[in-house]
């Protein structure tokens, strides 16, 4: 039982870390905000001047902005759909008592431990390459024209690569949830003569809803800022077909060295991320309450 004294002591002791954490977040954010109102290009030093909302105007009216905004939503939505559906399927499979189950689980989890750049390189050069890739080889074997993934379906290709990486994460969380399911409920359903589909839709799926919510929230945070996979495979192209907001900000800041424009983009990305977060919390966050 905490006394008033111990509570005050705890607050005093926590104070430095809270201040440090706040400063750590607020200082860069304030600097970004300040730079976003300047005409500031690293390559033209000494010409910085206050230009009001011009950086925001240019960023928001850029044809690449709309494309990248929709691509960001598609990317997040696509990966979530694949990882949640696939994750549930995999979790159910991994829950079965099969021989060598532990080894299978480790194999399934392996992609999560591969660095994004490495997995993107492997997919680009060894699997999806239209001349030397494995998929092209199979296509040629069955007499079909190989698909040129990164030119014909660039965004879908990135969704596939990212899903491959995040599927184990979803599967792991969902498997843990399935294992926490009370087996007696399933046995009772068996006695009542429920089929596998009824058991899945009326018992397993409702039980998984909190885990699914957690997966959606955690994945969304990371998926909004997908970068390495795009840089390695398509560099946002062809055109703007696989540019997301993060990549667009990167091109402004580090390819054009336009610190002002990049900062404005950064602030806009923060606003968009917050809108998405509020929307998600309202829509599905209530699952986590209680």
């Amino acid at each position: 039982m905490a006394t008033t004294h111990s509570r005050t002591l705890a607050q005093i002791m926590l104070f430095p870390s809270v201040v440090l954490l706040l400063a750590w977040m607020i200082v860069p954010l304030c600097m970004t905000l300040y730079f976003s109102f300047l005409d500031y290009n690293l390559l033209s030093p000494g010409t910085e001047e206050f230009i009001g909302f011009l950086n925001y105007e240019f960023f928001l009216t850029d044809p690449a902005f709309f494309a990248s905004f929709f691509n960001t939503l598609l990317l997040v939505g696509g990966v979530l759909l694949i990882t949640i559906c696939g994750g549930i399927g995999l979790a159910i499979l991994l829950d079965q008592a099969i021989w060598g189950r532990n080894y299978v689980r480790i194999m399934v989890l392996a992609p999560f431990f591969v660095m994004p750049t490495v997995s993107a390189l492997v997919w680009k050069n060894m699997l999806m390459n239209p001349v030397n890739g494995l998929f092209a080889h199979f296509a040629t074997l069955i007499g079909v024209d190989p698909v040129d993934f990164f030119a014909q379906v660039p965004l879908l290709s990135i969704i596939i690569i990212v899903s491959w990486q995040w599927l184990p994460f979803a599967a792991l969380i969902l498997l843990t949830a399935i294992q926490s399911l009370d087996r007696e409920q399933l046995e009772a359903a068996d006695l009542d003569g429920a089929g596998p589909f009824s058991k899945f839709f009326y018992i397993v799926l409702p039980h998984l809803s909190r885990a699914v919510t957690a997966v959606i929230l955690i994945e969304t945070i990371f998926l909004l800022s997908i970068f390495a996979e795009i840089l390695v495979t398509t560099s946002g192209g062809p055109g703007y077909e696989s540019t997301n907001i993060t990549y667009l900000i990167y091109t402004q800041s580090l390819l054009q060295f336009d610190v002002g424009g990049g900062s404005a983009g950064g602030i806009i990305a923060v606003i968009i991320a917050n809108i998405v977060a509020i929307f998600l919390m309202r829509l599905i966050g209530k699952n986590l309450e209680g």
Binding site: N41, L42, L43, S44, P45, L54, F58, D62, P63, A64, K124, N129, P130, V131, A136, P146, D148, F150, A151, Q152, T233, T234, S235, G236, G237, P238, G239, Y240, E241, T251, Q252, L254, L255, Q256, F257, D258, G261
Partner: protein, 433 residues
């Protein structure tokens, strides 16, 4: 005995204490890797200087050194930069004038085209490590099989005809490989150099973008058509390295790219087609300009470096005639960094070992960065426009070109987008300045 030992220990300690460490940022190209390998020679000659290497991929290197030099970070003492950066950075006061290269350096021996691109007011601000233009590399056996003969100075019309004739989809041989990967140093470099020979230009004399002209339409249409007819699948993701791999494994009939690749495609260790490669000048349209570029990877000292003297000693070693001789001794004459010194092209050993040498020299000498196109332009640069904004707009335009190549938009759409985005960027940068 013990006195001698303690004296030598003291000397060693003194030299260890006095040793200056210089940090060299360089790109992971083959010639630079060789430089790193052979740098023990430099350290043996200069025991008072230690070398620390930072070797990076081209794009990452560019980001790191640009950020470092622009923020006066002082992280690097020697930077590997290109002919695009040198005049811009020199004018900003970001580079140290190279006046400590030593009496034996022989600055006059540097090729005039390269030297002038690296000088401001006749003073050298970067020393060329290797220089390059672009040329046609082709498979002699395939062309002969197709019943054609490559002229030394081919036209774009001939290239299209030859590419078609050499293409054999069933056996996985594609007539022509060209850069398609978006980037100002990738597809934009190739297509801009191409456009010069088609009579197109980036800007008119008033800095107005020119992508809405017929000349640009002809250039991009030709590029898309020839790649569609005779290019490999997935060309919109192919850059220099991807095309090099395709050519070395016998999948390309022709490849128009950097002259420095001459050494790689004729190297028996890496290239399956080493003894079947021929070389020709970059093509033209009979308008007086050929579609070849001019580039040099150079070594420079940022003004933020506090070890400029030691850095210049290193640069002098790495870009001297003695270094060329060292590479020749260790790796053979064909591996010597090309395109920087007249004396190399007067050396019979080199000329014999490098079948691409003559075309390389002729290509480099044929380019005038101050008059790169048929019509007059307000900028300097052959395959780039030497303004700070070009890195951004060059890559953005390259994205549009790669979308046209991938069939995601028409040539007209790509050019209209390019026109609009360059106009926007120039308005934001307040041109003309």
């Amino acid at each position: 005995m013990s006195a001698a030992l303690s004296t030598s220990t003291a000397l060693f300690m003194a030299s260890a204490v006095n040793a200056e460490t210089i940090t060299i940022a360089t790109v992971n190209n083959g010639d630079m890797i060789t430089m790193k390998e052979l740098s023990s020679d430099f350290e043996a000659k200069h025991p008072d200087i230690d070398l620390k290497w930072v070797t990076l991929e081209e794009n990452i290197l560019r980001q790191r050194v640009t950020t470092d030099v622009a923020t006066k970070g002082g992280q690097y003492d020697v930077m590997t930069i290109g002919t695009y950066e040198v005049p811009i950075w020199g004018k900003q006061g970001w580079l140290t004038e190279l006046d400590g290269l030593g009496p034996n350096y022989d600055e006059e021996d540097l090729l005039p085209a390269i030297r002038s691109g690296l000088s401001l007011n006749n003073k050298l601000y970067a020393a060329p490590f290797y220089g390059e233009s672009s040329m046609v590399m082709y498979r002699k056996d395939l062309l002969e099989k197709a019943g054609l003969e490559m002229p030394t100075k081919p036209s774009w019309k001939f290239i299209r005809q030859a590419a078609k004739a050499m293409t054999d989809g069933d056996s996985g041989v594609y007539g022509i490989c060209l850069r398609g990967k978006a980037g100002w140093g990738e597809n934009t470099a190739l297509i801009t150099a191409m456009s010069n020979s088609f009579g197109a230009r980036w800007f008119d004399e008033n800095w107005k973008p020119q992508f809405n002209t017929q000349e640009w339409k002809d250039t991009l249409q030709y590029y898309v058509d020839v790649m569609e007819e005779s290019g490999p699948p997935g060309a919109s993701s192919n850059g220099f390295n991807e095309n090099l791999a395709l050519f070395q494994t016998g999948k390309c009939g022709m490849w128009i790219d950097a002259t420095v690749a001459g050494a790689f495609v004729t190297n028996k260790k890496d290239s399956e087609v080493a003894d079947k490669v021929g070389f020709a000048m970059a093509p033209d349209m009979d308008l007086g300009k050929r579609g070849n570029w001019l580039w040099a990877w150079t070594l420079a000292v940022p003004s933020s470096s506090k070890k400029a003297d030691a850095a210049q000693k290193f640069i002098s070693w790495a870009t001297s005639k003695d270094y060329s001789a060292l590479v020749a001794k260790e790796k053979g004459w064909a591996a010597v960094p090309p395109g920087t010194r007249t004396s190399l092209y007067e050396n019979p050993n080199y000329m014999e070992a490098a079948p691409f040498a003559e075309i390389t020299l002729a290509s480099i000498e044929s380019v005038d960065p101050k008059n790169p196109t048929v019509k007059p332009v307000p900028y300097v640069g052959v395959q780039f426009v030497a303004i700070p904004e070009f890195q951004g707009i060059g890559t953005a335009v390259g994205q549009q070109f790669s979308a046209a190549l991938a069939g995601k938009m028409t040539v007209d759409q790509a050019l209209a987008n390019a026109q609009r985005l360059v106009e926007r960027a120039m308005r934001k940068a307040r041109y003309p300045k």
